[in-house]
């Protein structure tokens, strides 16, 4: 594992914004697509960046995950346009269908992941697809003009999919 980190760090060494690029690639190459404490420590030490700064960067960008992510990520848009077209009930539906419960620390949680590590649910402020509201994304695909029915079908299909080996 650390050999791979070393290669990634060597690739970006001396380039501006190296830390961001390294964090991004390390996350992509880590099981469950996240940055764990050991990885952050390793990167900080090898790149000679203060630990607090590495953590600051990793927590600033919503792109970085500090918790293990599910196989599929469902991102519900909670922008104004989507909100007025019912994105909150959609979010509630997704959570309910996956058996996820919003915790009391709701506002401090950026995402929720099912125990079987199959799904992660998160929200986003805006996809820039307001004309197609409400929108949500499953992994890289955006679904527009979502309804409760369409969502139910979509989720059923996803759940029926075989778990990645």
């Amino acid at each position: 594992m650390y050999e791979l980190f070393d290669t990634i760090i060597a690739t970006y060494k001396g380039k501006p914004g190296a830390l961001l690029s390294v964090l991004e690639e390390v996350q992509r190459n880590t099981e469950h697509t996240y940055l764990n404490e050991q990885a952050l420590l390793y990167i900080a030490e090898k790149m000679q960046v203060p630990l607090s700064q590495v953590y600051s960067v990793a927590t600033f960008y919503s792109f970085f995950n500090l918790k293990p992510q599910g196989e599929h990520t469902i991102t519900v848009c909670r922008g104004t346009a989507c909100h007025t077209r019912g994105s909150k009930p959609l979010l509630d539906d997704v959570m309910a269908m996956l058996g996820l419960i919003e915790t009391e620390e709701g506002e401090d949680e950026s995402s929720y992941t099912t125990e079987d590590m199959r799904f992660t649910v998160r929200t986003v402020a805006c996809f820039g697809q307001c004309a197609l509201a409400p929108v949500l994304a499953v992994d890289e695909v955006i679904y527009s003009k979502m309804t409760a029915d369409k969502l139910a079908t979509l989720l059923k299909q996803l759940m029926a999919k075989k778990v990645k080996a």
């Binding site: 650390y2 404490e37 050991q38 952050l40 420590l41 390793y42 900080a44 030490e45 203060p50 630990l51 607090s52 700064q53 590495v54 953590y55 600051s56 927590t59 600033f60 009391e104 620390e105 709701g106 506002e107 401090d108």
Partner: protein, 597 residues
């Protein structure tokens, strides 16, 4: 090269300033102090709070005066309805998420946010809190407590920790509503590279970072008739405590301080300066021995516990350069519970040593497990059990905590009579008082080392090259025809410069003094708030004044120190000194804080 001057107009008054001056500083020249909150005098401007806005003609928006340079011909207004409304609005927005717990806050009546709310006439809290949850307090450090709920994200603590100290223990974590100042993985200061220097607490405009208080424990020990409570005061307290009691910056109040401590009920009022003289005896001889025996050089002072933790984290391979001498606080504790206990016929288990320090890191230092020389000394003779293990120093209070104790019991500090320290651990010299200023330990050590090595009297005992607020100072002293090069650094950022030379093997020095805080202990993290460059200079002036007030100004001429060696320690660097006055250090590293790879 002459500085280019520019002329601009502030509130219809013409003013000429050096090019590059901020509008904020230019305004001071016409007698207007623009209110600020996040702005950190002498260090940095972050421009995050939006309190310092002013109006510039032909600019649509109000500009933040702390980060905007004055330009030639600029027409600035600092006072109109729009400006006042904007400042007030920005402050009200900051206050929306700030707990209105002023009455029970440690910084009550000495809080910049509170003063600003008063100054700008905020009379109601119009905006609803936007943060739903409270963040748990960080109690992980033995020196400092952080309450993120009181934090207004001004970034000052982050700036001082990274830019001045180069420690980077804290940073802004998260973003938007979730932003907070925190450490790596939110593990808390106690599990970070934090050196406990407390500069963050000194610059915090609110009560978000404060020292870990031990006032109650000390009051309770004083009240316990079975205990002998001994108090020791660091040199920098006598030039700081007056400020916290309403006196002018840098007021020299040694006598009142002693009287006040006696009124608080301490059994004996002694002086850390006694131990500072002792430190010079040990450290001076250690330096001489290292030079003569070709030991590891440069030798670096070890009085500043912030500095010690810094080198343990950042230069763990260079610990051999540190003097093995304990700090004066710890030497005092060890001597009080051995030599003094013997002399006074006291059971060391019933002695409590309380130190008053300008320092938050002293709390951590007092708690270090290796700081129990007195227990080890008595262990066999008194057949002490492990359960009875006691520390050399029981509590280290900051200058601010002492002020708080004085206030609680209603001591009218300024009108106290001047009193003298108790004997014997109250006697000290001019060499000891200057420990409180950057360069002082070096100067004191040279006064003694020179005379011991040359057996001659120093022509002049004032090493003025080593005084003043420069970050790094150096001097060369001729001792018996050998040039001894020495350097003095204050702030950990400056210490790093000297450490890099050592790391590269290019350090030209034989002896280095490092103090973690700007200006030395007189600018320590436990000193009264505010502490800034101007105030530090006043305190330093009083320190050197006090030095001149002493008839005896060299540590080796302190008669009580001479008696201590004659009756107890026998000789510097001797067997007893080795056990009681010298210590070892821990390789901590920066990243090895956690289970490593």
């Amino acid at each position: 090269m002459a500085n280019e001057m520019i002329t601009l107009c502030i509130d219809s008054q013409e003013v000429t300033v050096v090019k590059g001056t901020t509008i904020l500083d230019a305004c001071l020249q016409v007698g207007i102090k623009i209110p600020t909150l996040c702005h950190l005098e002498d260090i940095s401007s972050h421009g995050s709070c939006g309190i310092c806005v002013v109006e510039v003609k032909n600019s649509k928006r109000l500009v933040r005066s702390c980060i905007t340079s004055a330009l030639p011909g600029m027409e600035v207004s600092t006072n109109n309805e729009r400006i006042r409304a904007s400042r007030k609005l920005n402050l009200e927005l900051v206050l929306a998420n700030h707990p209105l717990e002023c009455l029970t806050c440690e910084r009550n009546t000495n809080c910049e946010l509170q003063s600003l709310a008063q100054q700008l006439g905020v009379r109601e809290s119009r905006f609803q809190r936007t943060k739903r949850n409270l963040i748990p307090l960080d109690y992980s450090s033995s020196s400092l407590v952080r309450d993120p709920n009181k934090c207004i994200l001004c970034n000052r603590c982050v700036e001082v920790c990274s830019q001045v100290q180069g420690v980077h223990a804290i940073d802004i974590i998260g973003r938007g509503l979730r932003s907070k100042v925190s450490t790596f993985m939110d593990k808390g200061l106690g599990s970070s590279v934090c050196t406990n220097c407390g500069q963050c607490a000194l610059v915090c405009p609110t009560g978000a970072i404060t020292e870990r208080s031990h006032i109650e424990e000390v009051f309770s020990d004083i009240a316990n008739p079975n205990l002998t409570t001994i108090v020791q005061t660091a040199p920098a307290i006598r030039v700081g405590i007056g400020e916290a009691m309403g006196m002018p910056w840098g007021a020299l109040v040694t006598g009142q301080m002693v009287a006040g401590l006696r009124r608080l009920g301490f059994s004996k009022v002694f002086d850390t300066q006694f131990a500072a003289d002792l430190t010079i005896m040990e450290e001076g001889h250690e330096l001489i021995s290292r030079i003569q025996k070709k030991g590891v050089l440069p030798m670096i002072t070890s009085c500043s516990p912030g500095w010690i933790k810094y080198i343990e984290h950042f230069y763990p391979e260079q610990l051999d350069h540190l003097s093995t001498c304990k700090s004066p606080q710890q030497m005092f504790g060890a001597i009080a519970k051995t030599y003094y206990a013997q002399q006074a016929g006291l059971d060391p288990r019933n002695i409590r040593v309380v130190s008053i320090m300008p320092c938050t890191a002293k709390k951590f230092e007092a708690g270090r497990s290796e700081m129990d020389g007195a227990f080890e000394f008595w262990k066999e003779e008194m057949a002490l059990s492990e359960g009875e293990r006691f520390a050399d120093v029981d509590y280290a209070l900051t200058t601010r905590e002492l002020a708080s104790m004085f206030k609680r019991v209603g001591i009218q500090f300024a009108s106290l009579p001047e009193e003298e320290f108790d004997s014997p651990l109250g006697m000290s010299t001019g060499a000891a008082v200057i420990f409180g200023a950057t360069g002082g330990v070096m100067e004191a050590a040279l006064r003694t080392a020179y005379e011991v090595l040359t057996k001659k009297s120093l022509p002049s005992i004032d090493f003025t090259d080593l005084r003043g607020m420069d970050g790094i100072k150096e001097a060369t002293v001729d001792i018996n025809g050998t040039a001894l090069r020495v350097a003095v650094a204050n702030t950990l950022g400056n210490a790093r410069t000297l450490m890099e030379q050592i790391q590269e093997g290019t350090s030209p020095y034989a002896f280095i003094e490092v103090m973690a805080c700007p200006g030395g202990c007189l600018g320590g993290g436990g000193q009264p708030i505010p502490t800034n460059e101007a105030i530090r200079k006043k305190r330093a002036a009083s320190i050197y004044q006090e030095d001149r007030n002493f008839e005896v100004r060299k540590s080796h001429e302190n008669s009580e120190i001479q008696a201590l060696y004659k009756d107890f320690l026998i000789e510097p660097l001797g067997e007893k000194s080795h056990h009681l006055l010298h210590t070892t250090y821990t390789k901590r590293g920066q990243y090895a804080l956690f289970d490593s790879f």
